[in-house]
């Protein structure tokens, strides 16, 4: 798995964990007939994804997550979807490259 794919999967795993830990997330899921018994399994999967990251991406991810809640955001129309600042034309990597928003520090995913 590429660093980019691991970051996207880690980000989505954190969204699932947020849902499981939300004050009424578990209760609401159970009411829908969708119980969440696999919290431990998801946390293990998250650890595995985390370990696939190079140390500098791991640090960037955790730093942005602590600061904003979500560490990775999409770029749409050359705008960072975290801080909504327009990105310079020089910031246009290939599909597999990873960059950090110079304005807010979130990791950017270009589709």
């Amino acid at each position: 798995m590429s660093a980019r794919s691991a970051l996207v999967a880690l980000h989505d795993a954190d969204l699932l964990l947020e849902e499981a830990h939300a004050p009424d997330g578990r209760r609401r899921c159970r009411a829908l007939g969708l119980d969440l018994p696999g919290l431990g399994a998801l946390e293990r999967a998250r650890r595995q994804l985390h370990q696939q990251l190079e140390p500098h991406w791991m640090r960037a991810y955790e730093r942005a997550r602590r600061r904003y809640g979500r560490a990775v955001v999409a770029v749409r129309d050359r705008v960072c979807q975290g801080c909504y600042m327009a990105l310079p034309t020089s910031a246009s990597p290939g599909a597999e490259a990873l960059t950090v928003c110079e304005s807010c520090g979130r990791i950017l995913v270009w589709h």
């Binding site: 980000h11 969204l15 829908l32 998801l42 955001v73 589709h111």
Partner: protein, 154 residues
């Protein structure tokens, strides 16, 4: 703020004959469909997110219905896809009965948890009544399938 479910009920979002009989393959198929509709990116990664959700707990809601769902960085707008399998899908070891209706519910990453769960709840509520499920399993054409659901949405 609640997401309106009405705009999601377009015939292009109904698949009356899912090809696969295993959960992993069905999630891959629906992820590809989401990309074809311009809402989901990178279907292999989206499938991986949906499989992570299944690790948290099976999304089989009983009565032959499954509601795989996730908020994801790979999703640009809320989406509900409805897939039907007359033969049935083996969803998980914990759910011995086959699944015949799959409701894939996707929301963008920035969607609050409560808003996403509202969309899942409202989607499931539409198909829970036995008479609705029966109708959905019996109709022949995808336009009828869409029509039935549209009638049920205020």
């Amino acid at each position: 703020m609640a997401i309106s479910i009405g705009p999601t009920l377009h015939p292009a979002r109904f698949f009356s004959d899912l090809k696969h009989r295993r959960r992993e393959s069905v999630l891959a198929e629906l992820s590809r469909r989401a990309r074809a509709l311009g809402v989901g990116q990178e279907p292999e990664l989206l499938q991986a997110t949906l499989l992570l959700r299944e690790r948290l707990g099976s999304t089989c809601a009983g009565h032959g219905i499954a509601a795989p769902n996730a908020r994801s960085l790979l999703v640009s707008s809320p989406l509900v896809l409805v897939g039907r399998s007359r033969r049935g899908i083996a969803w998980s070891a914990a759910d011995p009965d086959p699944v015949h209706l799959v409701l894939l519910v996707l929301s963008p990453a920035e969607t609050p948890v409560s808003t996403h769960l509202d969309l899942v709840a409202r989607t499931l509520a539409i198909v829970r009544p036995a008479r609705v499920r029966q109708k959905l399993l019996e109709v022949e054409r995808v336009e009828e399938l869409a029509g039935i659901l549209r009638e049920l949405v205020p």
